[in-house]
Symmetry: C2
């Protein structure tokens, strides 16, 4: 959409001070931040920070990736750090301090004045992943007996330093939050109207300890743009605005997707994550699942003699393992997602299991029926060669083929049914024990289903080929 | 959070008209809708619709699930439909019409007046999944030479019928959009200020044909609460507000998660989706993957004689299949997610492949090293029994075990490396051919990796056991 021929990098290298400043007027900060993140030479970024105003650099800084932020802080003089902090919102500062190594955090905190330090410390104290850790203390409160005109006057006076004036927060004499006042209400009513007749009293709220997942779900459910945050004594201590929640919603979905694919969530965007970090986040799962999966190796090993007698059984191992795993993963994805979007919770267990039993019954029956015909086709067309002791085309030969096909499809019948039930049950079990349903799920289920399907297969085979 | 003892259902059954009305004052519409969706007797819902005001029922209706909406429309008289439509926003109406069967849509459209029908038809004409299909025409436009006082007067006059007054849209004499005016700006400036000095001129915009994925990403990237939509002639035709985008962001993530687990996205929430629909969305994948996976069956079948000679090889099939699949799925999840959140695009191909090559090299080497030791342990502790021809404990016996372990870990080295590269490459290939990277991915890769790992295994085994 934008003119890509003039890059910020070229402007910096030609030290085009005026054009750089124009560039900041012209482009959105998030787009500029992308270009700055990509600058290889930190000196170029330092030049940029000296060239544009402190207000702009403070905003730019909050958009940079943690990696770039850390790189910069290490190069900054104390004076530059003070300038940066004085022009940043305290929640942004708390945010990037949370990502920095301890020695840099100390260096920064000693550079700010006492009140500001307290504010940041306060924000830093809240556990990561809670409303407290993402809220900002920069909002406007109004007394309940204020008039519209007085409110507008206060907004004009202090509104520009606040994160939002889309909503103001009405407090009583004991500073309890009693109402939320959208800016619109001030426009629609005459100057002498008193706020307590205008404000919304059935507003949504959360606690500092509310999880960010819950915060995101409140925003979505009630279509909010701002949410007040209360402390343990029910006093207003911060607000969360929609622009802090949007990236959160994505981050939550990304975490779920990565966990389902057996990777620990990345702390930074892909581009800023080194191959080594990616390896550290994913390798333990690969090795762990390999170790767990050894149970399938041991199982096959135990039934070795059966394969030596009926070698054709080996060929269907992948089909049996994969189909069970796939079926289970489908259920896990559906249920985990409905839990993540707060559509389902533990109290729906009965409802879910009833529905999944029906689905499992239908799916396993159709899968078994289809696989029976498919395997007969593979065998009779000699796509899979089966050394029957009977003459090709004879009735006994046909029965022999149907026996193999019947064995595999009966295994699939049981395996798919079991996989669907486990796939619905495991995420519920996880939330029962206050574990994350996403991490409990796909990789574990796959390992579990591999083992279970093989056991079912071998037990049935033992029965079919010895006693039939 | 709410008092759960008094349910809407009990109020309806006792025909407590006043308490029902109070209930609507007290609770958020989305919470009420949940209760209404759960009502089994449609007569209860009809009673509710007769009891509360048309404004409230129209709002309630827009929160109901498509299934409940359809159920109701079929029971409504023409008069009730007219009342409902007259009190609904046109984008909400277009939304639920999009879900209804054609005969019901016709019945509804014949009940509305001409202007309204044109507005709805206009909205319906836009393809599902585009900005046009989710925008609303209910916004305020202002001429560029309007003053702050005139603007406020217009907002007070018509603002309440509009979807939002958080931002107004400034147009020139040819009705081209030239600026966006946040309500805040009106508060901060004196009554006689002319708008064209206040409005934001570097605002974000999109076209009616822009995909909802792109819309969501613009909202996230630029922290917007409203986005103007332009038609082919660059005229403003609608706006999209953040509350329409929030559920979209979730829906996009859910779709990706389901697609990665090989299910076609559900059209409705889990609770309203019947077991049969779930089966229809997931079964084709199970059967399709089973058919595709038969290539592994054929492969094993071809190498049958090898298993009869060295039976121990069978036991490691699950480990080899799963590890390759897991490794590949990790890469797919990381890359697909970074593409979905617009962090990565085709132009990053070179960057991604370079980074993944490094990651793949590290991961495959460590996996191979670890598995070599692990398998030696399994064999020498007799957890997996291996009938070597040599005396237990002799050097030849040790070499024999190292040969099996070496074969498996060498297979894993190649398979993990290949899986990582394919896992990064397949999503990019998908977007190159304008396909959805999520659907191209996990299930296909698993099938592909099963087959590839087996071939690598067998070729190496053939080499190791015949020529070593």
């Amino acid at each position: 959409m934008h003119d890509e021929t003039i890059t910020l990098e070229s402007l910096i290298q030609h030290k085009n001070v005026n054009e750089i400043r124009e560039y900041f007027d012209q482009y959105a900060m998030v787009d500029i931040a992308d270009q700055v993140n990509a600058l290889k030479d930190s000196k170029d970024i330092l030049f940029l920070f000296k060239t544009v105003s402190n207000e702009l650099t403070a905003e730019l800084f909050s958009y940079l990736t943690p990696t770039t932020q850390e790189r910069l802080i290490q190069l900054f003089t104390d004076k530059q750090i003070i300038d940066l902090l004085n022009h940043s919102y305290s929640d942004d500062v708390a945010d990037f301090l949370g990502e920095l190594p301890a020695n840099l955090v100390q260096r920064i905190l000693k550079n700010v004045n006492k009140t500001y330090r307290e504010e940041i410390n306060h924000l830093l104290r809240y556990q990561e992943g809670t409303a407290g850790s993402i809220m900002t203390p920069e909002y406007i409160t109004l007394a309940m007996n204020t008039t519209v005109d007085e409110a507008l006057e206060k907004i004009r006076r202090i509104g520009k330093d606040k994160e939002t004036i889309q909503s103001m927060f009405v407090i009583d004499s004991k500073r309890f939050l009693i109402g939320v006042l959208p800016l619109e209400a001030l426009v629609y009513h005459s100057g002498s109207t008193v706020l307590n007749t205008l404000m919304e009293i059935d507003f949504q709220r959360c606690l500092v300890s509310t999880t960010v997942e819950e915060v995101a779900s409140i925003f979505k459910r009630y279509s909010l743009t701002v949410l007040p945050v209360l402390n343990e004594t029910n006093h207003l201590v911060g607000i969360i605005t929609i622009d802090d929640v949007l990236p959160l919603i994505d981050a939550i979905a990304s975490e779920d997707i990565l966990k389902m694919a057996a990777i620990n969530p990345l702390d930074d965007v892909y581009k800023s994550t080194s191959p080594w970090i990616i390896t550290k986040k994913s390798l333990p799962w690969i090795l762990g699942l390999m170790v767990m999966g050894s149970i399938s190796t041991v199982t096959i090993n135990q039934f070795e003699s059966m394969f030596q007698t009926v070698i054709i059984l080996t060929a269907f191992i992948p089909m049996i393992m994969n189909t069970g795993g796939n079926a289970g993963n489908q259920s896990i994805a559906i249920i985990t997602r409905a839990i993540a979007t707060k559509e389902l919770s533990l109290k729906d267990t009965h409802f879910i299991l009833k529905k999944e039993l029906l689905t499992a019954a239908m799916m396993s029956l159709i899968t078994a029926g289809f696989s029976f015909i498919w395997i007969i086709a593979l065998l009779s067309l000699q796509i899979v060669r089966y050394q029957s002791t009977f003459m090709v085309g004879s009735l006994s030969w046909l029965i022999d083929m149907a026996r193999v096909s019947g064995l595999v499809s009966l295994t699939l019948l049981i395996a798919v049914f079991l996989a669907k039930i486990l796939g619905s049950f495991l995420p519920l079990l996880a939330i029962q024990f206050k574990k994350d349903p996403a991490i409990m799920s796909s990789p574990f289920l796959t390992t579990l289903m591999d083992f279970s399907s093989l056991i079912i297969y071998f037990l049935l085979a033992n029965f079919v080929f010895n006693f039939f």
